[in-house]
Amino acid sequence: MADDRDRDEIAVAEFHKKIKEAFEVFDHESNNTVDVREVGTIIRSLGCCPSEGELHDLIAEVEEEEPTGYIRFEKFLPVMTEVLLERRYRPIPEDILLRAFEVLDPAKRGFLSKDELIKYMTEEGEPFSQEEMEEMLSAAIDPESNSVLYKDYITMMVIDEN
């Protein structure tokens, strides 16, 4: 029992250090605050994969009562620690991702055309901004076929992560 508690404490201490590090990368004024628009990046680089909706909820939790546009570390730390301890917003496994692409490609051709990708990404789900769409296209589109060979695409991105 005591061991479990020790292990939890150690885990929490380690989480605190990780969170602090990630936070500091964006703390440009060295005053323990970050721009609210960077919080998503911080949370995601700590290993979480929230949807935009979940992100908004999280931000609401860490924002000031009167939103200032900045998030303070003192508020961010406990909330983020909980998220990590509870292993919330787990990343998506490769096979699930593949199946998602296959849903969009019911004919099982193995690819999505550029237009199809644009349509789905900008009209469905939590739509991409134009910038996000352009950036995804630049890496995903195979120039010869003008389509996304999604299996290869996933493999490439996943290798990149590691």
């Binding site: 964006f26 995601r44 994969c49 990343p91 692409f101 849903v103 990404m121 991409f128 991105m157």
Partner: protein, 737 residues
């Protein structure tokens, strides 16, 4: 039928919902991917910046280190004393008569076989344009023309005031460019994109034209050429790299000697003078102040306008006058009383953490609270005198640390302006700047803006200060200005506004750290003085890369640099690891790894973020540190003839060594004697915790003297070192050269 359509609808609805959810999943995954890329990009940037600034800090520390050494190292022989003295021999700003000799280009013949550009003076606009074109085609300008051009440039610069005044009513628009650092491609791109200089198109180049990049010479030639052709419209400000001592370390000296083997020395000598004649700042319409670094809370534009800028040969060395000798004497007497229990100077390895520890306030009221590290060097080379000056500089440093620790600044005594009256009879010595003048110039060439209010010493660079928004506001109000334009710092987008848009940083060297690392930018001002920023990236290759690929390339480069640094400190890091492994299991946690590495390198990097790129294999979530260090070494080590710790030390200090060698090799001949080498190494190692015996040093020296003539060619030494660090990984020792 009803049920048919409703089933259809049901399916359609289900499919739509599935598509919706699938799209949402993909978007969610993609956004996380992008966020992680962004984090990697920021970390990469931190790595480059922290290593770059640590390097700058190093150079300042190096000078202080030598002065401290002078104080504590007792020369055991006449030779050694001479040797030390020579290291501190003041390099005089060249006298007029000397200048005639250095600028003597007329005797240099240009062979008929020379196909490069030829210059005739006075220069015409076509000549300048032709010069740009010639350089674009990779031609080289003959030394005779280089000297001629520098000579003419100097004549022009001498007439200019310290603060150039420019008006937008003559040329309608003014383009301001920042650091170029020898990157000719960027300059050519700017002229291509924005247009060549002309009476209608004024330019201001804000310093740091040289060092680091490979075409510093060509950049200077182009800039000086246009300056001569359009004297009213083309303006240059001095940067902290327009400084012959900084050039020793950052590549410009090397470039000149490499491109101009015969006349390089002459060129460097003339350049040393030309640099100190560069104006310090430019003022547009009395409203926009353009200078290289920044300002401090003491910046005094009137003083800056009045001082003799030519006196400040280098911002790295503060030269004292003979009259300071008297002051030093007086202080020396006062010093006797309070020296007990004084903490050791900050730049020694063991006292690196000094600034954060509280210091007892000094009882010496006469101390000047200098903000920059300064090394007093004087012409009189009497050792006692030298050590008094060194103690003075050490005191300055202590005072600075005290200030940093939060103690109130000790009120300064005004430096007596009796400079003129104190001129010695034998002084053909030109007048020296006062400490205040020197500090004013250092401040504007080295300072960086910060977000917090206030003004504090710039410890990262080792010179100048960090200035806050209130300092900017104070200055703008005092002199009725609208905003500041400065450079000095690389920015990912090539520019950055801060202090409520009152300070604009403009940086024109794109891909500065690595291909794809950053854009360059320049800013245009019209009569309304609204800044219009133009960005660029002078490497077509990057345009075709995706964001992911760009970041990967830059990141790989940063990580390589970081691994080099880690290797260079292997011994210290191992010691720290062992502290975290009292049970000698050979394993440590990642948390301990991060703490240990930071405590040695002091780079302030997010180690946990970087961990996946630096540490690949873990046993049970712990790191087997010995093999990790060995792997680092394998990337670097090859030959085993030299003791590995010596190799490590040499490697860690290689840029310092090169600098030291070049300082010793004062005639730029490219070789130093075996004795000098031994002395250098001894001096160096006596303060670097190295157990290298004299014999070992002698062996090393002898093995490097390939032709056994008692002289070591600097290039050969470095080349030998490079050969040693290359290849041979895993190979037998006997296989290696």
């Amino acid at each position: 039928m009803g049920s048919g359509t409703s089933t259809q609808h049901h399916f359609a609805f289900q499919n739509a919902e599935k598509a919706f959810r699938a799209a949402a999943l993909i978007q969610r995954w993609y956004r996380r991917y992008v966020a992680r890329l962004e984090m990697r990009r920021r970390c990469t940037w931190s790595i480059f910046q922290s290593i770059e600034y640590a390097g700058q800090q190093d150079q300042v520390k190096l000078h202080n280190f030598f002065s401290y050494l002078v104080d504590h190292f007792t020369p055991s022989s006449h030779n050694e004393r001479d040797f030390l003295n020579r290291m501190f021999t003041e390099e005089q700003p060249p006298q007029a008569s000397e200048m005639q000799n250095s600028g003597d280009y007329e005797s240099i013949e240009v062979p008929d076989s020379y196909t490069g550009p030829r210059l005739a003076f006075p220069l015409l606009p076509d000549h300048a344009t032709a010069l740009v074109e010639a350089f674009r085609r990779k031609q080289r300008l003959h030394a005779r023309y280089v000297l001629n051009l520098l000579h003419e440039a100097r004549k022009h610069l001498v007439q200019l005031p310290n603060i150039n005044r420019v008006s937008t009513c003559y040329s309608e628009e003014i383009t301001v460019c920042g650091d170029l650092h020898g990157q000719l491609d960027d300059l050519i791109f700017i002229f291509y994109k924005n247009g060549l200089p002309s009476p209608e198109r004024a330019y201001v180049f804000n310093g740091d034209f040289v060092d680091r990049g490979k075409d510093s010479v060509e950049i200077l030639m182009v800039l000086f050429a246009f300056m001569l052709v359009y004297p009213k419209e083309f303006h240059l400000n001095r940067g902290n790299h327009e400084d012959h001592i900084v050039n020793l370390r950052y590549g410009f000296t090397k470039e000149v000697m490499h491109k101009y083997k015969i006349h390089g020395k002459k060129i460097l000598k003339l350049l040393q003078d030309v640099f100190c004649w560069l104006p310090l700042a430019t003022l547009v319409d009395e409203k926009v102040l353009i200078l290289h670094g920044g300002v401090s809370d003491r910046t005094d534009l009137e003083l800056l306008a009045k001082l003799d800028r030519h006196k400040i040969v280098s911002t790295m060395r503060y030269k004292t006058r003979k009259e300071n000798k008297k002051q030093a004497e007086e202080k020396g007497n006062a010093n006797q009383t309070g020296s007990a229990g004084r903490p050791s100077p900050w730049f020694l390895p063991q006292s690196r953490s000094l600034p954060s520890s509280p210091l007892r306030p000094s009882t010496h009221k006469t101390h000047r609270a200098g903000r920059s590290s300064s090394v007093p060097c004087g012409v009189p080379l009497d050792p006692k005198e030298l050590s008094r000056r060194v103690r003075h500089s050490v005191d300055l440093e202590l005072e600075r640390c005290r200030q940093q620790a939060g103690f109130p600044a000790i009120k300064e005594k005004e430096e007596p302006s009796s400079s003129e009256s104190e001129v010695d009879s034998d002084a053909e010595e030109p007048p020296q700047p006062t400490p205040e003048e020197w500090r004013q110039v250092v401040d504007i060439l080295w300072s960086d803006p910060m977000a917090q209010e206030g003004c504090r010493a710039n410890t990262v660079r080792g010179g100048g200060c960090y200035f806050g928004p209130n300092v900017t506001e104070q200055l703008l109000q005092k002199y009725n200005l609208q905003f500041l334009i400065r450079s000095h710092e690389c920015k990912p987008e090539g520019y950055e506004f801060c202090h409520s848009r009152k300070v604009l940083t403009i940086f024109s060297a794109s891909n500065y750290y690595e291909v794809g690392s950053n854009r360059g930018a320049y800013v245009k001002l019209g009569p309304d003085l609204t800044p219009h920023i133009m960005q660029f990236q002078a490497n077509k290759a990057t345009h075709t890369l995706t964001m992911r690929q760009r970041i990967s390339r830059v990141e790989e480069s940063a990580l390589r640099a970081l691994r080099e640094k880690l290797f260079a400190h292997s011994s210290d890091i191992l010691v720290e690891f062992k502290k975290h492994d009292k049970d000698e299991t050979g394993l440590i946690t990642l948390s301990d790894w991060a703490a240990a590495v930071e405590s040695v390198l002091h780079l302030g990097l997010p180690w946990r973020m970087l961990r996946p790129q630096l540490v690949s294999s873990l046993t049970d979530n712990k790191l087997a540190y010995k093999s990790w260090l060995e792997n680092l070494a394998k990337e670097k080590l090859s030959q085993q003839n030299i003791q590995s710790s010596l190799l490590e030390t040499l490697y860690r200090n290689r840029s310092n060594l090169e600098t030291i060698f070049r300082i010793i090799d004062s005639d730029h001949s490219g070789s130093i004697s075996l004795d000098e080498f031994r002395h250098t190494w001894k001096l160096f190692s006596s303060h670097m915790n190295i157990d290298i015996t004299d014999d070992c040093i002698c062996d090393l020296a002898r093995s490097i003297d390939f032709n056994k003539d008692g002289h070591i060619d600097i290039n050969e030494f470095l080349e030998a070192f490079r050969l040693v660090e290359q290849s041979c990984s895993g190979a037998d020792v006997s296989d290696c050269p």
